[in-house]
Symmetry: C2
Amino acid sequence: MRTAELSPASPIVVLDSGLGGLTVARALRAALPYDDLLYFGDTARLPYGSKSAATITGFVHQIITYLLPRNPKHVVIACNTATAVALPAIRAAFPHVSVSGVIEPGARAAVVAAGAKKTPVIGIIATEATIRSKAYERSIHRRRHHARLLLRPTPLLVPLIEEGRRDDDPLVVLAVEQYLRPFLQRGLDVLVLGCTHYPLLKELIERTVGISVRVIDSAERCAEDVARRLQTAGLLRGQGDRPAVIGGGAKGVPSGSLRCYVTDDPPRFERLATRFLGFEIDSPTWVSTDQLHALLDDANPQQVLRPAV
Amino acid sequence: MRTAELSPASPIVVLDSGLGGLTVARALRAALPYDDLLYFGDTARLPYGSKSAATITGFVHQIITYLLPRNPKHVVIACNTATAVALPAIRAAFPHVSVSGVIEPGARAAVVAAGAKKTPVIGIIATEATIRSKAYERSIHRRRHHARLLLRPTPLLVPLIEEGRRDDDPLVVLAVEQYLRPFLQRGLDVLVLGCTHYPLLKELIERTVGISVRVIDSAERCAEDVARRLQTAGLLRGQGDRPAVIGGGAKGVPSGSLRCYVTDDPPRFERLATRFLGFEIDSPTWVSTDQLHALLDDANPQQVLRPAV
C-alpha cells in the first residue's frame, strides 16, 4: 500500500460487473458511514459469471488502472466471480494497492456459523465461473478439513433479479426451489450466498431452506472485513474526520459520498440501483470500454501499474 | 459492394453476441450448402439485449473491421438486438459492404402470414433493446398500416437457453406461459420470434399459443433473404462451383466450411454450439477484445473502414 500518500479521507473503490456489488456498497455505507465510495459497474460487459478467468482478469485490471489516479485507500472486488478468478493476479499486478474480495470473508463466516459440528454440511450457490474456480472449497477446507461441501451454479438468479422480479414471483420461487432442493435432502447446516446479487433474495432463500440452516450473506461479511482492514491500517474515517454533512444519497443521514461509474447505460443503472442500495444515487459517470482499453499498453503493461498519483 | 473483388467463392460473415446467431448459420447452411461461413460470437461481451445502442454499434463495428480482410461477399447481423439498434449506422460506416439483418425478413414474413385480415394482431417477443428500438413496429407498419402490434420483452429466455435447459423444464414452461399469457387473451394471429435464440423453444412456444397462431422464425426468414440477395448479385455458390467435399461439420454431407471466432471461452462455445447447429464444429479461434479495440483509431475511425483487402 502507498501509505505515505493515503489518509482516512482517501476513497474506497468498490467494483463489480454491474449492479450486484451495490449490496456490498450498501453494507459498506452502513459499516463505514463517513467514508467516500467510488463504485464501478462494468455494465457494457456484464455478466462476468459465464466468462473465462483471463477475460475477467483483464477487465478488472483495466478498471483498477482507470481508478488508480483517485488514490484509493482500498479496492474491494465486490463480485464473487471476479474475486474467485482474478484476486491473486490483481494483487500481484498492483503490489502497492490494498485489494480484498468477497470470498474469504464469506468462507470464514460459513466456518464460524458451522459451529463445533465435526463434519458440517456447507452449501454454496454461485455463478458457473465461481463454482468452477473452486475458490470457496479451498478457502473453507483450509479452515475446516472435514467440512462437507455442496456446490451448485445458479446462473438464472442474476437475470431474474436484473429483470426486476421480486421474491414473490412464481418464477423466482420455482427457480430457488429447483436449485436448493438437492441441498435440502442432504442435511444442510450452512448456505453461502456466493454472489453479490443473491442478498436481494435472502428472505425467500431463508424460507426455502428453513430456520435450521444459517444463511451467510457474503456482501455483509465483506464489508466487515474491509472495516477491520482499514482500522488495522489506521485509515478508518470517523465522524470527527469530516463535518456532518447531509448527502451521499441517504436523505437526512450524515454520510460519505457515493460516486458511480458505469461502462454502459447510466440511466438504467441509476434506475435499478435504488433497489440494491435502499437509497437513490446521483447520475453515474459513463466510461467507455474504448477508454479502458486505451489505458493499457499491451507491450508493457507494467507501465500502467504505477501512474503518477 | 466491392463486386470487382468478390466472387461466389468469397465467404459470408455471420455475427452475433454469442450462440444465438448459430440458428441463422444453421438455416444458411441448409439454404446455401456450398457456401463458406465465418461466424463471429462476441462471447466476452454478451448479451447485447440489455445494452445501449451506442455500445452495441461500437462492438459490431469492431467485429466487421476485424473480418473485412477476409473479403466477405455478404455480412449478416444475425442478432435481432444488433440489427434493431445498429444496422443503419453500420451500413453507413461500411458503404462498400453488403450488410443485412434479421428484422426486415421477419417483419415481411409476419405480414405475409397475417394474410388478408384487415387488422391482424401480430405479437413480437424479443430482448429489451430490440423492443425499445421499435424496429419491428416501423418495419411492419410500413407494410401494413392497420396491423395491431403487441410487443413484449422476454429477457429470461436467453439465459434459460444458454443454461442448457430444454423445453420440458418446468421453469422454461412457466416462463414461456408467463410471457405469452397476455397475448393469448387478445386474439393473436401471428407471433414473431424476435431473437435468434428463440427458435430453440419453437415447439414449446407453438404448443403454448395453439395451432391458430402462425409462429415466425426470424432466423429461417433471414437465411432466405440472404440467398435471394446473393442470387440477385450473381454471387450464389452452386454445387458446380466447388468439388463435393466432406466437411463443414455435417458428416457425410458435401458442404461449405464453417469457421467460428469468439471473444471468450472457445471450449464452452464449441460444446454448446452443437445444440444450435445440429452438428459439431471445429475449435473456434479466440479473438481478444484488446485486439478488436486496437483495430480502431479513435481519432479517425474512417481510416479503418477501407482496409487494403
